[in-house]
Amino acid sequence: MPDVENLLDIRRLISDIQHKKLVRSYDIALRTEELLEELISKGQWKSAKELMNLVKTRIQLVRENLPQEATAPNIMRHTLKVIREEYQSASKKKDEGQSLHELVTATPSNVLDYSDSLIDLRSSIVDHLTEYKVELESSSENIAAQALEHIHTNEIILTVGKSKTVEKFLKRAAKDRTFNVIVVEGAPLYDGHTMAASLAKSNIQTTVIADSAVFAMMSRVNKVIIGTHTVLANGGLRAASGIHAVALAAKHYSVPVMVLSHMYKFSPTYVGSPNHEAFNVCVSPAGVIPYATGPILKQIEVYNPVYDYVPPELVTLFISHQGGNSPSYVYRLLSELYHQDDYDL
């Protein structure tokens, strides 16, 4: 068992997320990356195996405390892959793949156990991670750079709530093209208001509608561009509540739904059903019905779910910094991002 002292870093991260000091997934991603860099360069480990165990305990801790959190575990999972790769190139041993043949022909002698202590490993992993950090930082810039490939003149684009990535994307497109944006306010957070005000400031013709008007407006919308909380392994989404209805309406009118997502939002998790306990979380009903409503509150139940599950068939395209991909390609992106053994930790 790793002693508690060593896990202070991750506990602090968890508490910061729990207390909403870290809200944006981008901030969480950066914090996690920094945490890992610290762990790798200063942590007490002698072999890749030990380091991997250190990371794995951290992933497990996050999963236990924040079952919905995807960004931090994904960054760590990717780091595991980095460690594996660096170890392999340093030790000149090849990882057996997932193919049946290789499974069968594998002999115990050449099985990788990551236990050798290699001298250059620490520095090479840190180097690799630094590169990754640069990639993280430029990610939303790279996504925004594709804006003109997706938005044409005089389009009507619908978006829901607020997403920094979407905001950047639309503003970039607005530099060269004129188009209209319809912002769904996204009750009960109403962060669509902030989004709309910000877009309008950048000279984009913006219309704000209530959540209820989505179906009515959708018939005139050309594209739906949204952000997401997580992209699941089957190409589905865990997105802000209300987006399922938006995606359904889009499907009804055959409007393409584009999801802007950073690579760290792609998660190798499958969801049995959206009603699975670990999938959704309900927060304080105060946003839905104020406490001041009176004694009636004692007699009713109020739900305020945070997420919606959006099945992959409702998503047209994922736009990450690497470009656009369809939902059926997600499994491949995942295998590039993470090692198969780390999918389920």
Binding site: L100, L103, S273, Y331, R332, Q340, Y343
Partner: protein, 319 residues
């Protein structure tokens, strides 16, 4: 080993060991052939094996499983031959690998069971078709995890294999209802998801399975219920059926029927379910999405093949 012996051995395994799937039985038979083979060269051995395969295909067991299992096994034989020059060594390696292979296959089912049992939630109602060992084990496992759930099993004409499935589930203490094949549409409204096995998984990402699976999948799609397929990866076969008619006849009909009667008037044993109707595939290689073939695969050797399903990915990696 002559044909009769091969057939006898093969049928004996299936008869005696309830838990062994036809594919594994076929592989075991091939191992037996290697063990008793008096051949002196690799080529001769290969011919022996191919003869054996043909014998097995002509039994009345589902060809799909025999085919893919044997195909895979043969591949190792040739690979083993490349590894060594001496024939006796080669034979030893083959047998060693064969055992390892069978061991892995046994593990495969456990892996699938582990993956799939997570998808069974408390209070869920599961619909399954015919009898599938891996589905049975998954349900057992979920039951052992103290999950409360209900199972509906189709009777699955013409061999009524669903009856046995139902009996086995009830023996475990799992609430189970036997339904008519024609009642699939009726029951679909109340079930939460469908779990079936497969005799073979084809390159499109679709499956070949006991007749009636397709009906069930179409119905599930219409009712928006997830359709899960549980299958070992040795059942992946290099076949791309375009439709029911395109399915090889040896898959659809028993060998005895094939020879004697007018095939138009015989009920087929299996049908083909296209990938669009399948939600997820649970395999020992992990959970796969069948969906539309769209992915590009960066394998140097197979560069030319640009559009592939996950299934094809797996198949291609094996070459």
């Amino acid at each position: 080993m002559d044909g009769a012996k091969v057939r006898e051995f093969f049928c004996k395994i299936i008869r005696e060991d309830e838990d062994v799937s036809v594919g594994v039985a076929a592989i075991r038979t091939l191992m037996e052939i290697i063990k008793h083979s008096k051949s002196e060269t690799v080529q001769e051995l290969e011919t022996n094996l191919k003869d054996g395969i043909n014998v097995m295909k002509n039994t009345d067991y589902p060809v799909a499983a025999i085919n893919s299992g044997c195909e895979l096994f043969l591949r190792f034989i040739t690979l083993a031959a490349l590894d060594t020059r001496c024939f006796s060594d080669c034979k030893k390696i083959m047998l060693d690998r064969g055992h390892l292979f069978i061991k892995k296959l046994d593990e495969a089912r456990g892996k699938i069971v582990r993956l799939a049992s997570k998808f069974i939630e408390d209070g869920s109602k599961v619909l399954t078709h015919s009898r599938s060992r891996v589905v049975l084990q998954t349900l057992r496992k979920a039951h052992k995890q103290n999950k409360r759930f209900e199972v509906f099993v189709t009777i699955s004409a013409p061999d009524n294999s669903g009856k046995q499935m139902c009996k086995e589930l009830q023996a475990e203490g799992i609430p189970c209802t036997l339904i008519l094949d024609s009642a699939v549409g009726y029951i679909m409204e109340q079930v939460h998801f469908i779990m079936v096995g497969a005799e073979g998984v084809v390159e499109s990402g679709g499956i070949v399975n006991k007749v009636g699976s397709y009906t069930m999948a179409v119905c599930a799609k219409e009712m928006k219920k997830p359709f899960y397929v549980l299958t070992e990866s040795f059942k992946f076969s290099r076949l791309f059926p375009l439709g029911q008619q395109d399915l090889p006849e040896e898959y659809k009909f028993k060998s005895s029927v094939r020879k004697s009667s007018d095939l138009k008037k015989v009920h087929p044993l299996v049908d083909y379910t296209p990938p669009a109707y399948i939600t997820l595939l649970f395999t020992d290689l992990g959970i796969l999405t069948p969906s539309a073939p769209l992915s590009t695969y960066k394998n140097i050797i197979w560069k030319s093949i640009m559009n592939m399903t996950p299934i094809q990915d797996v198949l291609i990696m094996d070459h």
